[in-house]
């Protein structure tokens, strides 16, 4: 079981995500949207969406950076004071995300207009996300100093996955809730291309530098305004 969950399943999940995501992008680009519901319901969304996004994005970024640069991360948490600050911030952000996610779920349940536009996939992904954040917050509370032991368990395991020689021993002895958090993370990855979560890959970074006005020509290709083309 351990072999399957931590040795094979992650590959299956990533392959599925990449394959299905690319296929969807090229066959049904129309469906790549965040499908915002702010137009139908404004007030709850503010208290749900804002804490959720800021909480989850920062925590996720920390997970990724720590996995990519374990050395630097190790230095960062080098003193007890800094470790404590990072742990506390992480927990606070986790709680923020948990609160936001729960509200987003409740809002869909309680507002009839939203119920009408919610698909089965929306429910599933919200539930999986809620479980992921809830297990994360539980771990942060129950098994303190995760920012440190993460570096010696999940990170080397992830590294072994990347090197295509999975070493499940790193995570085999972890408590059940941590294991759940790890497996559920890959469940999320697998579900990604089938949900509105694809908007994660369409963050409009080019807006930071592109010209404000866009002129398109049928034959000439796009040109910014006023460049004489």
């Amino acid at each position: 079981m351990t072999e399957f969950l931590f040795g094979s399943f992650p590959y299956a999940a990533v392959l599925l995500a990449v394959g299905a995501g690319v296929y969807r992008y090229f066959s049904d680009r129309f469906s790549y949207t965040s499908h915002s519901t702010q137009f139908l319901e404004n007030r709850w969304l503010f208290w749900g969406s804002v804490p959720w996004h800021y909480g989850i994005l920062i925590v996720l970024l920390a997970h990724i950076l720590a996995a990519l640069f374990p050395g630097a991360w190790g230095l960062l948490i080098g003193t007890p004071a800094r470790l404590f600050i990072i742990e506390a911030t992480g927990l606070a952000l986790g709680l923020l995300a948990l609160f936001g996610c729960a509200l987003l779920l409740a809002r869909r349940l309680l507002r009839p207009r939203l119920l009408a536009v919610t698909t089965a996939m929306d429910w599933i992904i919200l539930l999986v996300l809620l479980l992921q954040v809830a297990s994360g917050v539980t771990i942060a509370w129950k098994y303190r100093w995760g920012s440190a032991w993460y570096l010696h368990t999940a990170v080397p395991w992830l590294g072994s996955l990347v090197r295509l020689r999975p070493e499940t021993a790193y995570v085999a002895a972890l408590p059940a809730v941590v294991k759940f958090h790890l497996v559920n993370a890959f469940v999320l990855v697998a579900l990604l291309p089938f949900t509105r979560l694809v908007h994660l890959f369409t963050i409009p970074v080019s807006y930071a530098w592109r010209p404000y006005l866009l002129f398109f020509w049928n034959r000439r290709g796009p040109h910014p305004a006023g460049d004489g083309k």
């Binding site: 129309f30 790549y32 949207t33 499908h35 519901t37 137009f39 139908l40 959720w52 006005l213 020509w217």
Partner: protein
């Protein structure tokens, strides 16, 4: 000079009868589907009124358009950094309740009702949830000044009037009402394009039509706030923004857009304008009182040889240049100078123009008897639609511009009156014309294009037939080779002609 062509329009407000045929034909063609029920790409508002969506002109509320900042222009909504910060929640987004909840009726109830003493009724049900609702608002809740105490009184353009003027307007004696049909203005400096983080909205170089790419839109919904005219709508079903497409499939085949085609009052004119794309920013950034003048300057004279040469150089097809020469819009905007842009102070350089309405001058009561104000010109101040109101609608508050336009239209009227029923005071017509600065020949032309235009005078749409239409948009040889093969995507960087 970077010359481009724009398919542009004029609405002659004196002729609009407020029948909403335009809105209905547009709806039947484009927005009669789930998610789009509440969208009125074309809508007709009663003025004074709060319009659709409610109070769309109030940019304190919705933050549409541009504002001067430093020496340049910035989006009133937010800067680029603000866009990223507000991706998760746009604080200025209008919600469905600013429009209305679309509904239909449960007609089946009429048939299924058991026999009884009362007539059966069809209950209204929401088109979103399918549940019974109490209708609270609709797209024309204040039509014909219905509920004026609430709606018309909230008209932002009335804010420019003094308390006395405002109370006078709503006195029964002086009350005025005219209709304002609105579609997307296909602006030269569109803030919808600028505010879209995904870069999904674009202006077509060939004809200036502004479109939302449905494949690129990611529902960041900044355009909905960004457009000061509230002419981008959010499809709550598909999760995409949609807007007026100026019926491009019709225009490309030489047909007028559905709203134009069906207009009962024949108030609408469509034609091509040539403009200098290099001077868009200059026009958008002009001081408020010069906005109308600056916009007129960006529009080029299609009979000038240098303009034509420059247009050819930048690839404007001859069919377009030809159409520009015969454009009724050019005549109204540049030659007659009686058509004005709507709310130029939003600084998007809107490319739809309105001929302001010339309602009768107010009657004065004397000993219980009424008589019309005698001399129109000296009493423009007492025109029923206050000049200041029209100025805040059509000239960024510049009353001189509106007065000039009204003087010209009135001169035409006096001139025609002299011709058909004779002059009340000898020399009246001549005086009126010279005061307005137009010749009797011009007055005659304005009259003809206003009152007697044939279909071909109102719509001068460049490509008359599909076969030749292709030339203005594509290379015919390439099109010939590709037709039937089903190329969905073009080679990147492909060059035309």
């Amino acid at each position: 000079m970077d010359v481009r062509a724009q398919v542009s329009m004029v609405f002659h407000l004196d002729k609009c009868i407020g029948c909403h045929t335009c809105s209905v034909s547009c709806k039947n063609v484009w927005t009669d589907r789930r998610g789009a029920e509440y969208m009125w790409w074309n809508n007709v508002e009663s003025r004074p009124g709060t319009g659709y969506p409610t109070l769309w002109e109030d940019q304190e509320k919705y933050r549409g358009g541009w504002e001067k900042r430093g020496r340049g222009l910035e989006l009133r909504l937010q800067g680029r950094a603000g866009s990223f910060a507000n991706l998760f929640f746009n604080p200025y987004l209008p919600t469905l309740d600013d429009y209305y909840e679309p509904w239909t009726y449960r007609y089946a109830d009429l048939f299924a009702a058991p026999p009884g003493d009362d007539q059966p009724t069809a209950r209204p049900i929401s088109q979103i949830t399918g549940k019974p609702i109490d209708i609270e608002a609709g797209p024309n809740w204040d039509d014909d000044l219905g509920g004026s105490a609430i709606y018309a009184a909230g008209d932002p353009s009335l804010g420019k009037l003094s308390e006395e003027e405002r109370s006078q307007i709503f006195a029964l004696e002086r009350i005025f009402c005219f209709y304002l049909p609105r579609i997307c203005n296909h602006c030269l400096n569109p803030s919808c394009i600028a505010s879209c983080p995904a870069g999904a909205i674009y202006k077509r170089g060939e004809d200036g039509i502004v479109l939302v790419s449905q494949e690129k839109c990611r529902a960041w919904r900044m355009c909905i706030s960004g457009c000061p005219y509230k002419k981008v709508y959010y499809n709550w079903e598909s999760g995409k923004s949609e807007k007026c497409i100026l019926c491009y499939p019709r225009v490309e085949t030489g047909q007028a857009p559905a709203c134009f085609h069906s207009c009962v009052g024949r108030i609408r004119y469509q034609g091509v304008l040539l403009y200098d794309a290099g001077r868009i920013e200059e026009a958008a950034n002009a001081p408020a009182e010069r906005l109308v003048a600056a916009q007129r300057e960006v529009i080029l004279d299609p009979s000038e040889a240098t303009v034509v040469a420059a247009a050819r150089r930048s690839g404007v097809p001859d069919a377009m240049i030809d159409a520009a020469r015969k454009s009724p819009v050019y005549r109204f905007v540049k030659e007659f100078r009686i058509a004005l842009p709507l709310h130029p102070e939003f600084r998007t350089v809107p490319m739809l123009f309105y001929v302001p309405p010339l309602l009768p001058v107010v009657a004065f009561a004397e000993n219980g008897r009424k008589r019309l104000a005698g001399d129109f010109f000296s009493s423009l101040e007492s025109a029923r639609v206050p000049v200041r109101y029209l100025a805040s609608l059509l000239s960024a508050g510049n009353e001189t511009v509106v007065t000039e336009v009204l003087t010209r239209i009135m001169a035409v009227r006096i001139h025609r009156k002299a011709k058909t029923v004779g002059e009340e005071v000898p020399g009246e017509a001549e005086r009126a014309l010279s005061r307005a600065g137009i010749s009797s020949r011009e007055a005659e032309e304005i009259y003809r294009l206003t009152s007697l235009p044939a279909y071909e005078d109102r719509f001068v749409i460049p490509p008359a037939a599909r076969e030749s239409a292709i030339e203005s948009f594509e290379d015919p040889f390439a099109a010939k080779g590709e037709t039937g093969i089903g190329f969905l995507r073009r080679r990147k960087g492909g060059k035309g002609r």
